[in-house]
Amino acid sequence: MLAIKSKYLLILSIVLIAGCIEDYTPQLNETVEKLVVDGSIIKGEQTQRVVISRSTSVYNAQFIPESGCYVWVLNSNGNQFLFNETEPGVYTADIPQNELAFNTEYTLYITTPDGNEYESETETILESPEVSDIYYERTSNSDWGEGSSDGLQFYVDLYANNYKATSYRWVVEETWEHRAFYEAPYMLDAKNDSIIEMSTVDSLTICYSTQLSNNIYTASTENLSKNEKKKAEINYDKIENRKFNYNYSILIKQYSLNENAYNFWNQNQKQNINTGGLYQSQPSHSVSNINNISNKKEIVLGFFWASSFTEKRFILENKYFYSLQFCKADTVDRNKLGIYSKNLYLTVLGAYEDGKSILGIPESQTCIDCRLNGGTIIKPDFFK
């Protein structure tokens, strides 16, 4: 709560009084690698995953898998499910849906190769109601204090009356269309020093990227008289990032949370938006529900949570266009095709008097092949 308020106080002070933020890389002590557990039981998913790894130093963040663990989950019906290591550090199990019932409790057990035994606290699958309204407002959200920033702030409403869970997490997956600056009707075949006409003109111009938001969005109705929350903030993006130029959609997965799972996600949400403000709370120890059975003092990072989810897609009807970045293109001398060593897409810049096209080669292939900016050219079915 305070963290969010402090953001504004901070901004005010910064702009008023010439504050600034710059990179700073203090020396940090090397710490012992701690066990990290990233595990969940999600009703509705076919495959359940428990990822076990080791923490690393801050400046050299990497995934260090913990292989060879013995991993199993026990539910309150007394059934055990053994997980198999399918990739290094990644343990999976296909649990039948009938064993993933609402209000059933799950406990995770891990034995590491060095013989240490860990168990999680018990987590319950709670039912998630349908995702309610998703909408947005055009706003200038100056969270980062960088002047005016015209953008879209998306919101979701939560209506969970008659549902047991009072805490939720939303996972936001964005899909947006983006286009290359130039169309690519021709391709220069460097091997044969020839120019090939492409079959479909549009094929490399329009792409669709899909990305999971790296931000964490949680809500709790703990302090509210109804199990509902209006206008919970989810993702925000600036219009200048051009995600809203053409088709845009978000898919929201709404996960129910137990109280301590909410604490875990909420803590990390706060740390993500920590801007070191004036009235910032002190950082606190990481919330975790995994313990070493024989040594409670060992710090284990991560969490094991159980949940169910519902999902809903929102398609943005309005377009908010922000001009594409201009790309320069050089004309191609058809007599000197030999100077090019690899295949390049070419665009048409105009026509010679003889009616032949003036072919251009853009300064970068990212200006003509949208795939180089990420995504695929296959149009998702949810876009008309």
């Binding site: 709560m1 305070l2 308020k5 504004y8 106080l9 901070l10 901004i11 002070s13 702009v15 008023l16 009084i17 010439a18 504050g19 600034c20 710059e22 990179d23 700073y24 890389t25 203090p26 940090l28 002590n29 710490t31 990290v36 990233d38 990822v51 690393t56 130093s57 801050v58 050299n60 963040a61 100056s142 204090g145 002047g147 005016s148 790296n214 302090n223 509210l224 008289s225 509902e228 929350k229 209006k230 206008k231 903030e233 604490n263 803590q267 990390n268 920590n274 070191g276 403000g277 004036l278 009235y279 910032q280 709370s281 002190q282 606190s284 120890h285 990481s286 003092k297 990072l301 969490f303």
Partner: protein
């Protein structure tokens, strides 16, 4: 140099005196002889020379006869029945009426002066001689008491008042130093002082910060009251300087004590052109800022809420304006402030780190006077003058901001939708009712109002009033009786989310009655005693839905009531020779009345919801605190002393905060059934030395505080949970060394201070969940080992002066992440043990130029300009460091609040033909 000459003169005179073997007895017969004739006769027969005003002896006739009569007994018989007193110094006889002070007689030079004048003009009358010696005098002689009552060797009490000759205002913190006895006294807030002296003649030096010094001789016969006037030596701009209480430093009992006048405050460079006494205090050894631009202070490693701020006895619970960039007191009305951090006098209690006592101007008794000024952020004005000339004065001040205008100029949309405003006003009336009574009434209000991006509204205000009566029961006994009321309240609206939007109102009221008595006992015992009783009424407020759309569950945070009653006594006396002592004891009783049922918990378990085992009902809880206050001063040499002190303090009210800086929504909370009042024990030793206009001191201290309040991770102070579930209590240990060297006179003045200070906290318990940092000690938030401050002021001429600050300190402790890990493809970070790291070192240089206008004293308006550059080097000092995931890497970020040089120009004016501070 002058002192040496004077000493030489005294020596010469004394030698002469002995060699002359003066005739002191006489014979004669007088019947109804007019006194003047008697005098002429005696002068012809002896070496005695008389000084008196003719009119007082008009009706006196001498009837006596005999041989070898002693003048003393003749005068005694003749004068006393006529209510006249006399004084014989060597060969000089001074006759005066009542207790009246005989002014401007050069005591030691009388015989010499007399001789010369006699030769020059045989026919001079005694009256002429009296007048003449008055003019010639260098040092005045002040006679106290009546010889009639005098018993040799008996200690008498000399009390009195020091006032400004020009304005009639009391001179605060002036010191009287009795050279022969190496003892002294300082005047209090009303200019009063007390000295215990045996009969005899003493040379006394009277000194004051703003008034300079003067020397006089004091002849004590018996107890009595004297009024001393001091004249400002200076004209408008020749404000010579922090003539601080030089004697206080070495000779006084106080350690870890600083007193600064408004003058010092004004000359120090400031940010945004606002003069600010708390920013000045932050330059003193052992005092730290609670963050760049913050008005909170940290004393000897404590927290910001461990300092008690008084302005004319009104406690102020929030000292900041505009997020703390400004202090809630207008410097226009401030006369001076005192900061106690080692041995805190027994009359003070209630906070464990320091007492910060601000006294305001009492108003000019003769003329109307006004001053004011504008800076980029505020405008301020104050006025003062007599209501009844010489009897009753007023002072009023106002300061307000126009920062809204600044905000509207900013391009950021959120900021355009923000507003910020503050003001503070004060008024006081000071009345000298009569010789024995004076009354001071003071009122104060500060108000802050801001809204941010139309999402959060904050408002907070301090309001207070005090009335205090000073009464003299006798020269030996005086008392100060005060009633005080202070109220702090804040309200906020949080509209970030429609469903969660809430409003919160908080009120703290503090009502206090207190009496402080001073009693002079024989043999130099200065006894102070008194008591106070405080009624705290808190309403931590209700969290209420902001509007109909909000479904926020109303939460009553609860009302609280507590009564804190304290009695104290302390005695300051000379133990033996050069050793003096101040011993005091404060006993305080605090009772908390709970206004709602108190939970009972299972024994030996954490205070948590799961461990609630019924209710204790509305139970009250008492705490006693016995607080010894002892200080010793051993005068090693004339200008060197060693001091030691031991101090215990208890604190019954503290702030609920888990943020680094104090925020406008921090709630004060009373110690209650479960939360015990923190208690600190402090031991200090120091060496004090004055040398050639320099003043130096070094002090070491060790402090241990139990029941220090710390917070559990991730808690929320507006939740339904009782506070005992949110916090833990532990032990804090602090120790350090403070060194300061000051130069208070001359063209270049200022100080250099160095502080070494450590502070750590331990919260450990057998009970699971009741430890912080795994039960290991950790650095407190303000464990700042090294800190160096240089404050200097160079007066180029009467119109121009330059000031510079240099500030260096070790970065404050911080908690950094020590490991990174992946969770669902995201990078998460885990933090180190609490406060294991430090922010980068802090360094800042400020500079200012003061320029005064024309120095013509008769000018109607005097104006001055101040050009300020804060953070000249533009160093980007870290306010905080945080980490974020950026392109797959975790990157540290450093936030600086004042990362560039900040240049401001402010203009100030003084109105009226009056030389003020």
């Amino acid at each position: 140099m002058r002192i040496i000459l004077l000493a030489l003169a005294i020596l010469i005179i004394a030698t002469k005196g002995y060699s002359q073997q003066p005739v002191k007895t006489f014979s004669g017969s007088y019947t109804q002889t007019p006194f003047v004739d008697f005098v002429t006769d005696v002068e012809s027969k002896t070496d005695y020379r008389f000084f008196f005003k003719n009119d007082i002896v008009d009706s006196i006739y001498v009837n006596i006869s005999g041989s070898n009569m002693k003048l003393d007994s003749v005068l005694f018989k003749t004068l006393i029945k006529n209510r006249l007193y006399y004084y014989i110094a060597n060969n000089s006889v001074i006759i005066y009426d009542g207790y009246k002070i005989v002014e401007q007689i050069d005591g030691n030079n009388i015989s010499v002066a007399k001789k010369e004048t006699k030769i020059e003009s045989e026919n001079q009358t005694t009256q002429d001689r009296y007048e003449q010696s008055k003019v010639k005098a260098e040092n005045e002689l002040i006679v106290v008491g009546s010889k009639l009552e005098s018993v040799i060797g008996m200690p008498y009490i000399v009390s009195g008042r020091v006032i400004d000759e020009e304005t009639g205002e009391p001179v605060i913190g002036a010191t009287l130093y009795v050279e022969e006895l190496k003892i002294g006294a300082a005047t209090d807030y009303d200019g009063y002082f007390n000295l215990t002296l045996k009969t005899g003649k003493y040379s006394v030096e009277l000194k004051s910060m703003s008034m300079g010094s003067k020397n006089f001789f004091l002849q004590v016969y018996s107890s009595g009251k004297i009024d001393l006037q001091m004249k400002k030596e200076l004209i408008a701009i020749n404000e010579v300087q922090i003539f601080a209480d030089r004697h206080d430093n070495v000779r006084g009992m106080q350690m870890g004590f600083e007193r600064m006048s408004s003058k010092t405050i004004k000359e120090i460079p400031v940010v945004m052109g606002e003069k600010d006494l708390l920013k000045v205090a932050q330059m003193l050894p052992g005092v730290q800022s609670a963050g760049e631009g913050s008005s909170g202070i940290i004393v000897r490693g404590g927290t910001a809420d461990q300092n008690l701020f008084y302005i004319n006895k009104i406690p102020i619970y929030n000292t900041s304006h505009l997020f703390g960039f400004f202090t809630a007191f207008s410097s226009d009305i401030v006369n001076d402030f005192s900061l106690y951090k080692s041995n805190i006098p027994a009359e003070y209690g209630g906070r464990i780190s320091s007492i910060f006592d601000i006294s305001t101007r009492q108003g000019n008794k003769k003329n109307f006077y006004a001053k004011g000024g504008i800076s980029p952020v505020t405008a301020h004005v104050s006025a003062e003058g007599p209501i009844v000339k010489d009897k009753c004065t007023y002072v009023a001040s106002y300061r307000g901001t126009y920062s809204d205008w600044l905000l509207s100029k900013v391009s950021n949309e959120d900021l355009k939708r923000s507003t910020a405003a503050f003001y503070d006003v004060s008024a006081s009336v000071n009345t000298m009712i009569n010789d024995k009574n004076s009354l001071k009434v003071f009122g104060y209000n500060s108000n802050d109002n801001f809204s941010l991006a139309a999402k959060n509204d904050y408002r907070y205000s301090n309001m207070g009033g005090s009335a205090s009566l000073k009464h003299f029961f006798s020269p030996k006994l005086n008392g100060d009786f005060a009633i005080v009321h202070s109220e702090y309240n804040f309200s906020q609206n949080d509209k970030n989310n429609v469903s969660e939007a809430y409003s919160h109102n908080y009120v703290l009221s503090h009502s206090e009655a207190k009496a402080d008595m001073n009693y002079m006992l024989p043999s130099n015992h200065k006894l102070s005693f008194g008591g106070s009783s405080i009624l705290y009424n808190l309403n931590r407020g209700d969290i209420l839905p902001y509007n109909e759309e909000s479904t926020r569950i109303p939460v009553a945070l609860g009302k609280e009531k507590g009564i804190e009653t304290a009695v104290y006594a302390s005695d300051e006396f000379s133990v033996i020779g050069a050793l003096s002592m101040m011993g005091g004891l404060r006993i305080s009783h605090y009772i908390f009345f709970s206004q709602k049922p108190v939970n009972q918990y299972f024994s030996n378990s954490e205070y948590s919801e799961e461990n609630v085992n019924g209710s204790l009902g509305k139970i009250s809880k008492s705490y006693f605190s016995i607080e010894p206050r002892v200080a010793l001063n051993y005068m090693l040499f004339e200008n060197t002393s060693l001091k030691a002190s031991y101090n215990r303090m208890a604190q019954n009210i503290f702030v609920l905060s888990n943020t680094i800086a104090m925020s406008p929504t921090d709630q004060w909370k009373l110690a209650d059934y479960y939360i015990k009042p923190p208690v600190s024990n402090q031991l200090s030793f120091g060496v004090y030395q004055n040398y050639k206009g320099l003043e130096a001191s070094a002090e070491v201290y060790g402090k241990k505080t139990k029941n220090i309040v710390e917070y559990k991770d991730g808690i929320d102070f507006i939740s339904e949970n009782p506070v005992e579930m949110l916090l833990l209590q532990g032990e804090q240990k602090a120790y350090g060394l403070e060194f300061i060297i000051k130069r208070k006179t001359g063209k270049l003045t200022g100080w250099l201070s160095y502080t070494y200070s450590r502070s750590s906290v331990l919260v450990d318990s057998e009970i699971e969940g009741n430890s912080i940092n795994f039960g290991k000690p950790y650095s407190s938030n303000y464990d700042i080992p090294h800190s160096l401050n240089l404050v200097s002021n160079l007066r180029v001429n009467r119109r121009v002066s330059f000031s510079t600050n240099v500030v260096y300190s070790t970065g404050r402790p911080a908690t950094y992440p020590t490991s990174a890990y992946y969770f669902e493809g995201m990078q998460f970070i885990a933090y180190s043990e609490r406060n294991e790291y430090r922010l980068p070192d802090y360094f800042r240089v400020d500079f200012s130029i003061n320029m005064e206008g024309n120095l013509n004293r008769k000018k109607f308006i005097h104006s001055s300009w101040m050009l300020n550059v804060y953070n000249v080097t533009g160093r980007k000092n870290a306010y905080s460091v945080y980490f974020e995931s950026e392109d797959g890497n975790i990157q540290g970020k450093k936030l600086s609040v004042f990362g560039t040089p900040i240049v401001t120009l402010s203009w100030n004016f003084k109105l009226g033909n009056y030389v003020s501070d």
